[in-house]
């Protein structure tokens, strides 16, 4: 049974990486992120109202305890978050650098009175 959860977690981890990396910021992707957030909120409420339910779900996947399952999910969510943030940071940096380069070139061209060809 342990094999199943291992396979699921590994596949989910890889899938997340590809999803986050390859995903352009389209409306569909943004919408799915919101849906995932809502599902997570519902799952949280269910888990806190029926503490035993996480154990049942965990057993379904072949995990011993609900707490373990939560830990796996949390880890995956964290990896997705970190990657997402890293990529967003790179995109922001790219935009900032393009702007800064433009400023530098305009200023230099003015100083050397080079007119745009």
């Amino acid at each position: 049974m342990i094999i199943i959860i291992q396979a699921i977690v590994i596949l989910a981890a890889l899938g997340l990486v590809v999803f986050v990396l390859a995903g352009r910021q389209t409306h569909a992707v943004l919408a799915w992120k919101k849906i995932a957030l809502c599902l997570l909120a519902v799952a949280m409420m269910v888990a806190v109202l029926f503490p035993e339910s996480t154990n049942h779900v965990a057993h379904l996947f072949g995990v011993g305890r609900g707490a373990d399952l939560l830990l796996y999910i949390l880890t995956l969510a964290f990896i997705a978050y970190v990657l997402n943030n890293y990529l967003r940071e790179q995109r922001e940096k790219d935009r900032l650098f393009r702007l800064a380069r433009k400023v530098a070139l305009i200023e230099a061209n003015e100083r050397y009175s080079i007119s745009k060809k």
């Binding site: 590809v18 990396l21 380069r101 530098a104 070139l105 061209n109």
Partner: protein, 229 residues
Amino acid sequence: MSRAVREDVAIIIPVYNEARVIGTVLKHVLKHFKYVVCVDDGSSDASYDEIAKTKAYVVEHPINMGQGAALQTGLEFSRQLPVNYFVTFDADGQHRIEDVKAMLSEIEAGDHDIILGSRFMGETVGMSGTKRAVLKAAIRFSNATSGLVLTDAHNGLRVFNRVVAEGMQITLPDMGHASEIPEIIAEKQFRYKEVPVTIEYTDYSKAKGQSILNAVNIGFDTLLRKVTR
């Protein structure tokens, strides 16, 4: 060596906190080339003033953006100059003018679009064993991602024609550009050649050189770009 000052070549030098040596390096380069373009990458020392004292052009980044970004800025500025050939050159004085001249005659033969300097084909003075090993690993990685066959990708000395200058768009702002340039060459099918150059590792250039751990960063960013593209 002929003493004539060449007016058909732009020398692009990214500069970041090199106030101590840049004046001497520029004085030397300007003896041979009229168009020298320095990109001051937001230096916090007196680099800008040292460059301004000379006849070299200087483009000033308002913030520090990294060597790849500085090269791209220098490239975009140099395209406006009336030159046929472009050279990227390191600010710390580790490259030799004789090598630049040899590479220029190579490209003037017209069979290649870009000539790359290689430390491993030539003579390298004062390189440590670890640095050599890391660079060897880096070139294997770079060849695998770009599909080119090179012996040294992370060499700052490159000579290219206007076709390459107009087509080159470096997107990795930091040292990752060294792996990105071979990829651009492969993608745009530029005709390339590697020639041996001599690098002198002085204590100054060693202290300024990038940490070998940075190879991890370059590798990560290069692979990430492969997946996201």
